[in-house]
Symmetry: C2
Subunit: 278 residues, 2 copies
Amino acid sequence: MSTAAIRYRPEMSRSGLPPTYAVTVVDEQGRTEEGRIAGEFPLTLYVDRLEIVTLMTLGTHPEALTLGYLKNQGLVRSIEDIVSIQVDWDVQSVAVTTRSGTEGWEEKLARRTVTTGCGQGTVFGRIMEELDQLQLPQKPIRQSTIYGLLKNLNEYNDVYKSAGAVHGCALCKDSEILIFIEDVGRHNAVDAIAGLMWLEDIGGEDKMFYTTGRLTSEMVIKVAQMRVPALLSRSGVTKMGLDLARKVGVTLIARAKGRHFLVYHGADNLLYDARPSF
Amino acid sequence: MSTAAIRYRPEMSRSGLPPTYAVTVVDEQGRTEEGRIAGEFPLTLYVDRLEIVTLMTLGTHPEALTLGYLKNQGLVRSIEDIVSIQVDWDVQSVAVTTRSGTEGWEEKLARRTVTTGCGQGTVFGRIMEELDQLQLPQKPIRQSTIYGLLKNLNEYNDVYKSAGAVHGCALCKDSEILIFIEDVGRHNAVDAIAGLMWLEDIGGEDKMFYTTGRLTSEMVIKVAQMRVPALLSRSGVTKMGLDLARKVGVTLIARAKGRHFLVYHGADNLLYDARPSF
């Protein structure tokens, strides 16, 4: 018998789509061959019949994406406020029912417009203010843990391997991958992980976050909002990603491939217990 | 003496920022080394004092980005309507002055909110309707032209080579690169190219568009809006990118590296005049 308290869960559809689709392509010799491409579908989010946003998504985790979007945008504060999440791909939409309704949201959404970036999707001014309050705990990170994690990550990213055109994100505890989600938008992959963390009441403080994508301002902001103090990436870092990581205390490890990595912030947290001999 | 008519040009600042910045990083041996990272800065766009949006950008082409954003979002229809574009990085903003003002824009922007995707930045419903009207001209594309172009592109992407974390986009005529722009957001790179095309009155019909990024719905939409009938990428294709390319007639060539490429749509337009012998 489990001793865990019974967690509240909204009523949710389970409407994940297949991630890849067969296509016929023609190569450089003029030969026809079969290939696979990643899905990409519009999903329009309605909360109590108010239209909020259209997300372009791979569609494998639409309910978790919806949850994480509502949380990360600061639109819903408590999961108990959400009665149900029902995805209907026939009309490319998801209907969320809440207890407290959307009174005052139109103003919130209008304010969002003017500070939402094309391709950014963040509520810039408000989020910057919130980050001013935030200081993440500094945790030691073993080099051997990073290598173990990178090894374990090789077994994931199925969609990328078969079809490309997606980014993968993972929530990790030590070398273990707790959640791995791919999406055509990396913001969606992060939001979907945030949604699952919310649903399962998983804290971020003792975790590491991995992404195949670049460590830009938005990635650091989202990871900081999830209270995860360390961010690992195969790709590079931008100036504002670094500035924000310094500000809130996110250890930033990028260019991680094979045995190589570069620590852009928080090198004091690294325990070099597995230095390569070459 | 040039016979070209004198083109109207808004009064514009020239406030491009340096693209990369020095940082100190620590590698997997615990060694400190010097590296470079790509810039990323918030740029808040005001039109006649109305706040429109905050874009996160590399900052090398802020005026062109502003122009292209206003055009691609359908906010300004004629370049003659724009009196001036003044970027001031001290306050991380750009002030646009127009002749006809922003009456009715608040409603336009409010409508945008509810259909703008996180990480997508497109006005989904309206743009889909506009695409229904669009059919791009079908142009033959020589394989030798693709190879010549890929070779010429090797000399660009300076920021990526030195700092990573950016996407590059190019407007090309045959094998010649007319404009090459990198940005931390690939939507920004496309918008900045659209801005320069608008400024210089360059048509898209006889061009090809190259991007290092994935061919998603948004990339196909933007290229179609610029009337460019062919899209070439080093990366992959998503399902909706392909669906839209079929609908409006954009030839889609992806996975282009070395001699290899795959044609996802419009293979009938390819002239195989340079088949590799291996």
